[in-house]
C-alpha cells in the first residue's frame, strides 16, 4: 500500500511534464488530461485513506523510501515519504479541492489561449504541494516548499502581459525568499544540531539541544511560515497575488499553499512545544495578522482583495491556534480544512461573479446580482455563513474551538488572545456581510467596462457551478462532521497530541459570546451597507479606512524601511567599493606594474650581465647552503 504514495505525486507531475513539454499537439486535450490526472491523484488518496481507516490510530503512518538522494557520509538526504493522519488530511484537501478547481478552470479559462500551460502549472503545483506534505524529512519538504513557491510565482504572473501581474509575481517571489531563507537556516541548524533532517529523529531528540538552539530553529521555522502563509511581517504579497486568475487565488492563495505555514508549525510541534518563547512569538504573529487581515478586508472594494484580507486573517487564526501547543494544533488543522472548503467556495463564487460581469472586481459596481446568478448566490451565501461562524455551519465549529483554546491559554495572555479572537470574529462578520450586501443585494450599480460593453450578468456554466456546489456542501457540513463525537480530534491526536483546554469561562459562555459578536458585526454592516445605498465612488473615509485601503501602509512601510534603507546601504557599499576596495586593488595593481617595469630593466640583453646574474646566483646558492649547515 505504501508504494502508492509516490504515485500520488507522480500523477500530477506526469501531467505537468506532459502539458509543459508536450507542445501545441496537446492544446485540445490538455485541460482534460490535467484534470484527469488530478482526479487520479485524488482517487489514490481516497484509496489510501480507506486503507488507513482500516488500521488502529497509532499504526496508521506509512513510510516509503524511494531512493537515496544525496548520500555523502553523514549527510544523508533521501527521497522518502511519510503518510500519517496529518499528511492524509492535507492530501485529501489538496487533491480534492484541487480536482474541483481543475474542473472549474475548464470553464473559467475556456477562452484563454494558454489554457494548456495553465493546467500544466496547476498540475505542477499539486505535485509540489503533495511533495511538501508527504516528505519525511525537512530537506525534501524544502524541495516541495520551493516548488509551490515556483508554481505560485508562475500562476500569479500567468497573465504576464499585464505589468501589474508581472510585478505581483515578482513581489510574491521576493517576499517569499525571505521566508525561504528562514526555512533553509532552520534546516541547517537542525543538521548541525541533530545530524539529520528526518522528521522522526529531529522531533524525538528536541530535548537534547539547548533551549537557545531550539528557540532559534523555531523562530526560523516561523519566519518561513510567515512568508508562505502571508503573516505579518511578510504579509504584503498576498493582496497583490490576486492578480492571478481566480482559480489560482482559490486553490493556492486560499485553500492550500498559504496554509503550508500552519502545516510546518504543526508538523514541527515538538520543536515549538520545547520552546515557550518561540510559541509566544507564534501566537503574537497569529493575533496581529488576524486583526491586520480583518481590518484590511473591511476597507477593500476589490472583491478578491477583500477575500485575500480575509484569508490572511483566517490563517492568523490557525497560526494562533498552532502557537497554543497541543490544545490548539488539532483545531488549527480543523479550521484549515473547513477554511479550505468555504474560502475556495467564496473565491470560486467571486470568480463566477467576475465571469458574469466582464471581469469587474470593484464591488461598488456590483449590486443586486442574486436574481441573475442564483446558484452563485446560494453557494456564496453558504460560504459566507460558514466563514462568519453561523451556528451549525463548518466555520462555527472550528472557529469556536480556536476561541475557546485562546481563552484556555490562561492568565493575562489567555484573556488578551480571547479578546483578539472575538474581535476578529466580529470583524469577520462585518466585512463578509459587507461583501455579501454590496455584491448580491441593493441596487444595480453596473458600469460599462473600458470598451463600453454593458455587463450582462448571467449564471456560469455547469463546469463552474458544480465545483461551487460541492464546496458549498463542505462549507455546510464538514465542521459538524468533524465535531461529531470529536472525530477529528481523535483522528489527528496520534500525530499532533491533544490536550483539552480549560478556559476560565465556560465553553457555553464562549459560544454565546461568539454568537453575540457575530450578530454585532452583521448588524453594523447591515446598517452601513444594507440600509443605505452604496455610493459608486468610494467616500473619502476616515483615517483608518484610508490606511486600511492602502493595506495599513504595509507597502509604504516596506518602501521606506527596506527599499530606501537598502538603497542607502548599497550606495554606501558602492562608495566603499569605489574608494577603499578599488583603491586598494588599483593601488596594488599599480605597484606591481611599477615593480614589473623596474625589474624588466634587469633584462638588458647583454649576455655578460646574464652571466653575472648566474654567477651571483650560484654564489648565493652555495653560501646559503653552507650557512644552512652552519646554523
Amino acid at each position: 500500500m505504501e508504494n502508492l504514495i509516490a504515485l500520488l505525486i507522480a500523477a500530477p507531475l506526469l501531467g505537468a511534464g506532459l502539458l509543459l513539454c508536450g507542445g501545441r499537439r496537446l492544446d485540445r486535450v490538455g485541460h482534460i488530461l490535467g484534470t484527469l490526472l488530478a482526479a487520479a491523484s485524488f482517487v489514490i488518496g481516497v484509496v489510501l485513506f480507506a486503507d488507513m481507516l482500516g488500521r488502529s490510530g497509532d499504526d496508521r503512518a506509512l513510510h516509503q523510501h524511494l531512493f537515496s538522494w544525496i548520500p555523502v557520509e553523514s549527510f544523508q538526504a533521501d527521497i522518502a515519504f511519510q503518510l500519517d493522519q496529518l499528511s492524509m488530511t492535507f492530501v485529501l484537501l489538496i487533491t480534492g479541492v484541487g480536482t474541483l478547481i481543475h474542473i472549474y478552470s475548464i470553464g473559467y479559462m475556456e477562452h484563454d489561449e494558454r489554457r494548456r500551460r495553465f493546467f500544466g502549472y496547476l498540475n505542477l503545483f499539486l505535485a509540489a504541494m503533495l511533495l511538501l506534505v508527504l516528505a519525511d524529512n525537512y530537506l525534501l519538504l524544502y524541495f516541495g516548499w520551493e516548488g509551490v513557491g515556483l508554481a505560485s510565482y508562475l500562476l500569479i504572473g500567468f497573465w504576464q502581459h499585464k505589468p501589474s501581474a508581472a510585478t505581483a509575481a515578482k513581489k510574491a517571489f521576493l517576499v517569499n525568499r525571505v521566508g525561504d531563507m528562514g526555512l533553509s537556516i532552520a534546516i541547517m541548524l537542525m543538521f548541525t544540531t541533530f545530524g539529520t533532517f528526518a522528521f522522526g529523529p529531529v522531533l524525538e531528540s528536541t530535548g537534547q539541544a539547548s533551549s537557545g538552539t531550539i528557540t532559534g530553529i523555531g523562530l526560523m521555522l516561523l519566519l518561513a511560515a510567515c512568508g508562505k502563509s502571508a503573516q505579518v511581517p511578510l504579509q504584503s504579497w498576498l493582496g497583490d497575488a490576486m492578480e492571478g486568475p481566480t482559480p489560482v487565488s482559490a486553490l493556492i492563495h486560499a485553500a492550500t499553499m498559504v496554509t503550508a505555514g500552519v502545516y510546518l508549525i504543526t508538523r514541527s510541534g515538538a520543536i515549538f512545544n520545547a520552546s515557550p518563547d518561540a510559541q509566544l512569538v507564534v501566537v503574537i504573529v497569529g493575533a496581529v495578522t488576524l486583526l491586520f487581515g480583518a481590518i484590511v478586508g473591511c476597507a477593500k472594494d476589490d472583491i478578491k482583495k477583500a477575500l485575500a484580507g480575509s484569508t490572511m486573517s483566517q490563517i492568523g487564526y490557525m497560526i494562533l491556534a498552532a502557537g497554543l501547543g497541543p490544545i490548539g494544533y488539532v483545531f488549527a488543522i480543523m479550521h484549515l480544512v473547513t477554511h479550505g472548503f468555504f474560502k475556495a467556495g467564496l473565491f470560486l463564487g467571486a470568480g463566477s461573479v467576475m465571469h458574469g460581469m466582464n471581469d469587474e472586481v470593484d464591488m461598488r459596481k456590483y449590486g443586486g446580482l442574486r436574481k441573475y446568478m442564483p446558484v452563485t448566490f446560494v453557494t456564496f451565501g453558504l460560504g459566507y455563513l460558514a466563514i462568519i461562524g453561523f451556528p451549525g455551519l463548518s466555520g462555527f465549529w472550528s472557529k469556536d474551538k480556536i476561541i475557546e483554546a485562546a481563552f484556555a491559554k490562561g492568565g493575562t495572555e489567555g484573556w488578551i488572545l480571547g479578546a483578539v479572537t472575538l474581535l476578529g470574529a466580529a470583524l469577520t462578520a462585518y466585512y463578509m456581510t459587507r461583501v455579501m450586501l454590496m455584491t448580491f443585494f441593493g441596487e444595480k450599480r453596473w458600469q460599462p467596462d473600458a470598451e463600453g460593453n454593458e455587463p450582462k450578468p448571467h449564471e456560469s456554466p455547469k463546469s463552474m457551478t458544480i465545483p461551487m456546489i460541492v464546496l458549498a456542501f463542505g462549507s455546510v457540513f464538514a465542521g459538524g462532521l468533524f465535531s461529531l463525537n470529536e472525530s477529528f480530534v481523535k483522528w489527528l491526536e496520534p500525530v499532533t497530541q491533544f490536550e483539552h483546554g480549560h478556559p476560565p469561562i465556560s465553553a457555553a459562555a464562549v459560544t454565546t459570546l461568539t454568537v453575540v459578536v457575530l450578530l454585532i458585526g452583521v448588524g453594523v454592516a447591515y446598517l452601513q451597507y444594507g440600509r443605505k445605498p452604496v455610493p459608486v465612488t468610494a467616500p473619502r473615509g476616515s483615517l483608518v479606512t484610508r490606511a486600511a485601503r492602502r493595506d495599513l501602509l504595509q507597502d509604504d512601510f516596506n518602501h521606506v524601511v527596506l527599499v530606501r534603507g537598502g538603497e542607502h546601504l548599497t550606495r554606501s557599499l558602492v562608495y566603499v567599493d569605489h574608494t577603499l576596495v578599488d583603491g586598494v586593488v588599483n593601488g596594488t595593481a599599480a605597484s606591481f606594474g611599477g615593480l614589473s617595469g623596474r625589474l624588466r630593466k634587469l633584462q638588458n640583453g647583454y649576455a655578460r650581465s646574464y652571466a653575472v646574474s648566474m654567477f651571483g646566483g650560484t654564489a648565493v646558492l652555495i653560501a646559503a647552503t653552507l650557512l644552512m649547515r652552519a646554523v
Binding site: 606591481f592 606594474g593 615593480l595 614589473s596 625589474l599 648566474m614 651571483g616 647552503t625
Partner: protein, 550 residues
C-alpha cells in the same frame, strides 16, 4: 734488458692480465626508446647526404614521426611490461634508470615531440616563394644574413631539412636526461640535447640576426652553466669516490665506510658535498629557467623560430625537471634539510619574478617566456614537497603544461603580417572578432596557463600545491596562489585584448595552416580539456609512476 726479458714482460702481462676489460652489459630492449630516436637521427643525417633535395622533406618528416611513434610504442611496451613499477631497475651498468618517472617523462617528451615535429614541418603559413613551399627555418643556415649567398639560396628554394635529425638528437638527449643515473651520463645527456637546441635556435628564416643572437646567448650561458654543473660533478666525485647516484646516496647516508685511498683526504667532506650539490642544482635550475638563472629564457624564446621555442619550452622543461627530481629524491634525500630552504627561496623568487615581470611585456613570445618562468616556480613547489605526492604531481603538471605550451606557440605561428609572425601584443587586438576560432583556442590555452578550473592547468596546479601544502610548504603555496593571481592578470589581459578591443585596420592576418599545425593545436586543446575535465585517470597514472628506482 734482453729481448727475452722484454718479451717475457710482454707475455706475462698479456697472460696474467692486470684486469680483463669486461664488455658492458647493455639491455638493448630497455633502452629501445633512446636507441630508436638516436638511430633515426643518424639515418636522418644520411638521408641529407643521399636523398635528392626534393624528397628530403617528406623522407625526414616520415622518418621522424615514425621513429618518435616507435619510440613511444617502446615506452608503452616497457611500461606495460612492468618496468615502470615491479621490474624497475638500472640498465646499462647502472647508468640509466628504467623506472616509473623515467618512462612517464619519456612518454611525455615523445608525444610532445611528435606534435612539435608537426609544427617544424608546417609549410603553408607563408606563400610559395620561387616555386618552393617554405617553413620557419632559414633557407641555408650557413649563409650570412642579408648576403648574396642567402638570396641565392632563397631563390633556389632551399630549405633546412637538417632540422629534423637535429631535433632527433635533442630528443634522444632529453630521453636520457631524466633517466640518467650517474652524474656523467647526466652531463652527457645535457650536452647531447643542448647543442642541437643551440643550433635550432639560430635557424630562423626571418629576423635571422635576432635568431643568431639568441642562439649565441643561449650557447654562451648554457656553456657557462654546464661548466658549473661539471665542476659540481667533480666535487661530488671527490666527496663520494663515485659518480653513481646510488653510491653517492649511500655515502651521504653513511652506509659506505670503505674509503678509496686515493681520495682519503676528501671523501666524506661535507663541504664538497654541499658545494658540489649546489652547483649541480644550479645547472639544472638553469635548464628549467628558475630565477636567478632564467635570464636567457626571454631572449632565446623570442629569438628562436617559434616551432623551436614551443618544442624547447615544453620538452626541455620536462627533461630538466625529471633530472632535478631524480637528483633530489635519489641522490640527495639525506640532505633535504640542507637544500630545502635554498630551494624554497628559488621557488618563491621564480614564481613572483616570472609573474611580475610578465605584466609589462608587450611581445607575446616574451610574455609566454616569463609565463614559463612562473610555471617553473610552481613546479618547483611540487618538487620541494619531497614526498611521493610531490613526484606524481610534478609528473602530471609537466604532462599538462607541455601540451599547452606546444599548442600555444603553434597558435603564435599562425598570426602573421608582412614581416612574418606578428608577435607584438598590439597587433593581437581584436583578433577574436576577425578569427574567433583561433582566438578562442588561444584563450583556452591562456586559461590553462592561468590555472582556471576545467582546464589541465587547474588540475596540475591543484596537484602541486596540494602536495606542497601536505609536505609542509604552506608558505610556498601562499606565494604560489598570489603569483597565480598576478599571472592571471596578464593572461586575461590578452583575452580581453583579443575579444574586447577594436581590430586594427592594418592588423595581422591569421594564416590557414596545414593539417599538421591543426593537429598540434587540436591535440593541445584536447589534452588541456581532458586533463581539466577528467584528470583522475592521469593523476592515478602519474601516482603509479611516481616511484624512483634506487
Amino acid at each position: 734488458m734482453s729481448v727475452t726479458a722484454v718479451h717475457s714482460l710482454w707475455t706475462t702481462t698479456a697472460a696474467e692480465g692486470i684486469d680483463k676489460i669486461q664488455a658492458p652489459k647493455i639491455e638493448y630492449a630497455q633502452l629501445a626508446p633512446v636507441l630508436i630516436v638516436l638511430g633515426a637521427a643518424v639515418v636522418g643525417i644520411l638521408l641529407e647526404a643521399f636523398v635528392p633535395r626534393k624528397g628530403r622533406y617528406y623522407a625526414q618528416l616520415f622518418l621522424s614521426v615514425v621513429a618518435l611513434a616507435a619510440a613511444f610504442a617502446a615506452v608503452v611496451a616497457l611500461a606495460a611490461g612492468g618496468y615502470g613499477s615491479t621490474k624497475a631497475h638500472l640498465a646499462a651498468m647502472g647508468a640509466i634508470a628504467v623506472d616509473g618517472p623515467a618512462l612517464f617523462l619519456q612518454g611525455v617528451i615523445l608525444l610532445t615531440s611528435v606534435v612539435a615535429v608537426f609544427t617544424f614541418a608546417e609549410r603553408r603559413l607563408d606563400p610559395v616563394s620561387h616555386g618552393a613551399r617554405i617553413d620557419s627555418f632559414a633557407a641555408e643556415g650557413a649563409s650570412v644574413p642579408g648576403s648574396e649567398g642567402e638570396k641565392a639560396a632563397v631563390k633556389a628554394g632551399f630549405t633546412t631539412t637538417e632540422v629534423f635529425p637535429i631535433m632527433m638528437f635533442a630528443v634522444a638527449g632529453m630521453l636520457v636526461f631524466p633517466a640518467a643515473n650517474d652524474l656523467l651520463t647526466l652531463f652527457i645527456a645535457l650536452e647531447v640535447f643542448s647543442l642541437p637546441l643551440y643550433l635550432l635556435c639560430a635557424l630562423a628564416r626571418r629576423k635571422r640576426l635576432m635568431s643568431q643572437e639568441a642562439a649565441v646567448k643561449y650557447f654562451l650561458l648554457g656553456a657557462f652553466s654546464s661548466a658549473f654543473l661539471l665542476f659540481g660533478v667533480a666535487l661530488l666525485y671527490g666527496y663520494a669516490g663515485s659518480v653513481s647516484y646510488a653510491r653517492i646516496a649511500a655515502v651521504v647516508d653513511g652506509s659506505v665506510g670503505t674509503v678509496d685511498p686515493v681520495l682519503a683526504d676528501t671523501m666524506g667532506n661535507d663541504a664538497l658535498l654541499l658545494i658540489g650539490g649546489a652547483m649541480i642544482l644550479m645547472g639544472l635550475l638553469f635548464k628549467v629557467g628558475a630565477v636567478p638563472f632564467h635570464m636567457w629564457t626571454p631572449d632565446v624564446y623570442q629569438g628562436a623560430p617559434t616551432p623551436v621555442t614551443g618544442f624547447m619550452a615544453a620538452a626541455t622543461k620536462v627533461a630538466a625537471f625529471g633530472a632535478l627530481l631524480r637528483l633530489l629524491y635519489v641522490v640527495l634525500p639525506g640532505l633535504r634539510w640542507d637544500f630545502r630552504p635554498v630551494m624554497f627561496g628559488v621557488a618563491i623568487l621564480t614564481m613572483l619574478f616570472g609573474a611580475v615581470v610578465a605584466i609589462t611585456q608587450t611581445d607575446i613570445k616574451r610574455l609566454l617566456a616569463y609565463s614559463s618562468i612562473a610555471h617553473a616556480g610552481f613546479i618547483l613547489a611540487g618538487v620541494i614537497a619531497m614526498s611521493d605526492d610531490g613526484i606524481s604531481s610534478v609528473l602530471f603538471y609537466l604532462a599538462a603544461y607541455s601540451f599547452v605550451t606546444v599548442g600555444a606557440f603553434a597558435v603564435v605561428t599562425l598570426v602573421r603580417d608582412a614581416g612574418g609572425e606578428a608577435t607584438h601584443l598590439s597587433k593581437w587586438a581584436g583578433l577574436g572578432r576577425r578569427s574567433p576560432l583561433v582566438a578562442a583556442v588561444f584563450a583556452v590555452f591562456l586559461l590553462a596557463f592561468a590555472g582556471i578550473p576545467l582546464t589541465s592547468g587547474f588540475s596540475g596546479k591543484f596537484a602541486v600545491f596540494k602536495a606542497a601544502a601536505d609536505g609542509g610548504a604552506g608558505a610556498l603555496v601562499v606565494v604560489g596562489v598570489i603569483s597565480s593571481a598576478i599571472a592571471a592578470f596578464f593572461y586575461i589581459r590578452v583575452i580581453v585584448l583579443m575579444f574586447f578591443s577594436e581590430p586594427k585596420a592594418d592588423g595581422p592576418t591569421v594564416a590557414v595552416p596545414s593539417p599538421l599545425t591543426m593537429a598540434t593545436i587540436g591535440v593541445g586543446v584536447a589534452v588541456t580539456l581532458v586533463l581539466g575535465l577528467a584528470p583522475q585517470y592521469f593523476l592515478d597514472l602519474a601516482s603509479q609512476a611516481g616511484v624512483f628506482v634506487r
